[in-house]
Symmetry: C2
Amino acid sequence: MWCSLFSSSTSHFTTIKCSIPSDNQEFKNPINGNVVKLDLLKSNNNGHHVATKTSFSPCDETLYNIPMSQIRQNIPTKKQLVDTYRQGIIVEGAYRQTVVIRSYEVGPDKVATIESILNLLQETALNHVWMSGLLSDGFGATHGMMKNNLIWVVSRMQVQIDHYPIWGEVIEIDTWVGASGKNGMRRDWQIRSQATGLVFARATSTWVMMNQQTRRLSKMPEEVRAEISPWFISKQAIKEENPIKIEKLDDTAKYVLSNLKPKRSDLDMNHHVNNVKYVRWMLETIPDHFLESYQLSSIVLEYRRECGSTDIVQSLCEADEEVLFDDVVDVDQHKRRISVLHGFSLASGLLEATGLLESFSQRPFSYTHLLKIKEQIKNEEIVRGRTTWKRKISSMPFPT
Amino acid sequence: MWCSLFSSSTSHFTTIKCSIPSDNQEFKNPINGNVVKLDLLKSNNNGHHVATKTSFSPCDETLYNIPMSQIRQNIPTKKQLVDTYRQGIIVEGAYRQTVVIRSYEVGPDKVATIESILNLLQETALNHVWMSGLLSDGFGATHGMMKNNLIWVVSRMQVQIDHYPIWGEVIEIDTWVGASGKNGMRRDWQIRSQATGLVFARATSTWVMMNQQTRRLSKMPEEVRAEISPWFISKQAIKEENPIKIEKLDDTAKYVLSNLKPKRSDLDMNHHVNNVKYVRWMLETIPDHFLESYQLSSIVLEYRRECGSTDIVQSLCEADEEVLFDDVVDVDQHKRRISVLHGFSLASGLLEATGLLESFSQRPFSYTHLLKIKEQIKNEEIVRGRTTWKRKISSMPFPT
């Protein structure tokens, strides 16, 4: 078998409509018309599956040099400029995909969720590698990386969302890569309204390579640099003069969720907890009242270690401005101190009465987050995060 | 505001690239080229947002007869035969959409998850209504339903999956509707490989109408019948001579998950727990060992009542064949009785040794499920379910 990663995903009997090649013949991929050379080996005599002139089965994979999964996945071996099925094109080295926001990608307010946006960032990044002709069997790894047993590891990610797309809205997502230090790669994104060109969101991320066996970070081999550096663009989606440093929270953090256990459905193709799940765990610590009135405007994630399927995770969270707000808001009927972040629906009514709400609502809130392994170990940090929030305009106190 | 459902989703300032209409002018939708008539009213003097010749803002929605959200959503008022952005077409009254399986729609085995498949069924159904020109502001409701304050409620759903699409695979999803009794509607789907035409999955569902205020089921008004019946097709994706009856489980069920609480991210646009979440709750009762070796081949869901955001849910599950397997498998080293479903990884080794595994693996397993409200109330059932499973071919004991 060519790639063990695919071995469990090929449990299908597939009938190919085109004619089946005879020995050492060329095979025209029915999907993209690419011609690939098949090297017919001896037939497999397991007695269960026999390749005939009219049918393939996944167990016939060993018969050919090309795994059935690769034919079904339609991975190109050369650079492509257009992907009609994904509506993707290469524009000046960047990948651009046109996407319609789907019904299940929005929340109760019909606005795309942060999870959906993060998913689309991942998807377009992988499609960019697909278009480059460099995609190997791994999760975005190039042929050179595969040969050197290397995988991509994200070390930092920052997303800024000015406007959220809504259900049915057509958006364009651009993504491109650049150099980051000597051994890293930067990947940026920009999300725009397809109709108006208005920029909805920007994102940037930093990636390094890790040896899949030793789990140690690796230098970028020259072979890999030669593959990816022709794609490097210096343009940056987000320019950070002085990137903020995210403080490490400790167990005294105000909001704590414990005993978070990854489920099967939370694991990605690398059998790691999916990035989107991290963000969900972080946001679940924030009170519902707050999420009803506030919208995430930016998120920064600093990755420290991998989280596997058996780890038990704790999500810590602290509001940066809580103390300040506790000082200002001292207006409840029993003259007790109110935490705005604890009981926003109550406090907002009081604030409104005192005329303070509008001035508060202009200023963003921030939270600091930490996901960590619950065990008492030395390097227990999985990811530090910082989220910034702004008040939803629809719940602003405009005259009606 | 035209539709309160959209009020919280329009918190964006949008600059329209095309020329802005003057009073009572026609406006060309930049997305689909549709011309819509705008009726410019007096300007809004709230001092925050002023409509200019070059920019719209969501607060300007009250200025026009058309909500900004509807322009951004691009909902057609007439039947469309082609949707280039979604790659959808109408073929003999059915809607066909070409979809590429995305990286985040697959599980650790790179195969589309059942959740992704259910999401795509919902998405294509709504896109079919979109194409028909009947889509109103609700979640798939037609103009006539909106007028009569009616919403769609699903009463039964059945999905059969013979082959799972893999990451990057191009699939075609057909969906169409038919009559179901006097007041119901049937919606069917077929999912195929785009390259080979091989049918991957089939699904059928039954829908009735409910009054949004009274929450009572409603007859289909003639007005609505006139809208939808021209789309009715008699073809059926799944023919059931004698539909199975799903038994009601009680608290003696073997697998029970309690205290399931919907999260914000589990709610759909109707503020109900999403259908996909129901299925996830059902499947979470099944042991991981089993899910590693078995693949869902069919699911039947019988809906009994709505589940709201504050309900606390219990997921019950019972394996149909467990007793039978307990009887047969009596081969562990201490001669204790083994439940195959409890410790499959252990049992499979033993079965393999005894040569029994292959004959077992051919036959499907079934589970019966129940989601119910935890409270002691009369109509506590949310949904009954039945899942059938077959062994993953890749984990079958073929010689290698």
